[in-house]
Amino acid sequence: MVVRILTEPFDPWQTVQAHQRAHLAPGSYGATALFVGTMRDFNQGDTVQAMTLEHYPGMTERFLEQISRQAAERWDILDSLICHRVGPLNPDDPIVLVAVWSAHRADAFDASRWLMEELKSRAPFWKKEVTTEGERWVENEGSGTRN
């Protein structure tokens, strides 16, 4: 169960591979479910040139660790990994990675999706976009309508 707040660009695929090698016993897991959120270059009809992601140092990590523990209690999972970028981002940069390892696919799917929904709705992160119209804070559009 690992939570990482990253200030530099990261490769989600290398990150997952490295985590798997370091933390999962070969042959122990049958199912890995993954979600990667990536910065788009458009939002609400405007071109987005850049973004800054703010967080609440301390509370953000604590919240992500809490939901990781809750997922492990609720589903039969072997391990989970949450990585989230903060600071300045450019289009096509990965923002978030959620990965769950389990013996069974239903647990991996359910837990990864629940973690993403909790993260989107409650984890203290805030996006400020730089568009051709200027800077703006992204407003919460409710579950499922954004990446």
Binding site: I95, F125, W126, N140
Partner: protein, 76 residues
């Protein structure tokens, strides 16, 4: 008593402060911390935390607490 107050994102910009300390017996609840720390009315959708856990506006505050105010989250 001393309370650390933090504002994030758009609220930080509106209030014009990121962190401050209030040092008086002037706030028993999170809502009263807001009133003491700012001149503004609290926006309706403001989220609040005490010691990095979500709370409601009527949550009591104690000496040494860290109280945070922030807008709806938009991570992920």
């Amino acid at each position: 008593m001393t309370i650390t107050v933090k504002f994030f994102a758009s609220l930080r910009e509106q209030v014009g402060m990121a962190d401050l300390h209030i040092d008086c017996e002037c706030a028993d609840t999170v809502a009263e911390v807001w009133q003491t720390a700012t001149d503004l009315a609290m926006p309706a959708n403001t989220l609040m935390a005490v010691n990095q856990e979500y709370v409601e506006a009527d949550h009591p505050v104690r000496d040494g607490d860290e109280v945070a105010f922030f807008p709806p989250v938009t991570g992920g």
